[in-house]
Symmetry: C2
Subunit: 142 residues, 2 copies
DNA sequence: AATTTAAATGAAAACCATTTCTACTTAATC
DNA sequence: GATTAAGTAGAAATGGTTTTCATTTAAATT
């Protein structure tokens, strides 16, 4: 279930193409967030012909379908991460080695309450992300 | 204190220039987030010569100095907002009319605990933002 | 008030990550 | 296998943002 990618794609009404599967496989193998170009470079090892726009398109679609997460990086470039944890949660990202770790705490409930009570608007999405240095990177510096 | 901009700039070791003051004044007047180009257009009404890079540079510096907030927008463009609330808090942003409203709830404490306990890393920053439709925009649609 | 110095600025150009376009290919359905 | 809508490659365009560098300005120092 966790990585029956063909099924996952079908559920999103996306065709099961070798390139889509490869993008997911590449991301699954990584414990760090990757840029579209980095994923493209890895794809070039598997396919003779593979365009960068294909990688961008697919990453956007997969992100739209909540299969992969978009990372909010201070340098404002795009990064993606495939998390095997399928329940709602957020991320701690290492700004040095790019490692991604799960944060189970989510303020969604409390915030929903506050938005209902005071703002009286409709929530469409929320971002919660912690940026820092992971254990390994901290120890290297010390 | 709240808008003694010259003093604020001095504290950041930034020179008190008419253009910096104007950028702050423009932002202070707005209850919505603005793009650098939008701010530049407003600046052109006040100055004969005003370059877009100057606006970008100053916005970045002011954001770095925590005088203004950078907005995380789904379209990935830069937007800034000057919030008069000087205590730590986060924002609800309307994706339709761009209104920004304060959310006092912040999960920082809980997250800090979780990062200390499980991740054992160092937190450098955190993002918490709620995107949605404000009360006014909801009612317009209904 | 004049001098000095580092910071700020404008204009033009560069940058470059991302998107668009078009012709071609492929997956899925029957 | 034929059909059709979706996916793709490659090249080019896009456009928000940053860099460069010569000039100007703020503000500290005489
Ligand atoms: Zn790390
Ligand atoms: Zn995760
Ligand atoms: Zn609104
Ligand atoms: Zn605020």
């Amino acid at each position: 279930m966790l990585n029956d990618f063909p099924l996952t794609l079908k559920k999103l009404n996306l065709k099961v193409t070798p390139k889509r599967l490869a993008i997911l496989e590449i991301l699954l193998k990584e414990s760090v967030y990757l840029s579209p170009e980095e994923i493209w470079k890895k794809m070039k090892k598997r396919f003779n012909r593979i365009g960068l726009p294909t990688v961008y398109r697919n990453l956007e679609e997969l992100s739209e379908g909540n299969i992969i997460s978009k990372i909010n990086h201070p340098n404002r470039q795009l990064y993606y991460y495939l998390c095997q944890n399928r329940s709602h949660h957020h991320h701690f990202i290492c700004l040095s080695c790019r490692k991604v770790e799960d944060i189970s705490f989510c303020a969604a409930k409390e915030i929903e309450g506050e938005v209902k009570r005071n703002i009286r608007g409709k929530i469409l999405s929320h971002i919660l992300q912690v940026n820092g240095l992971c254990k390994n990177c901290l120890e290297k510096k010390g």
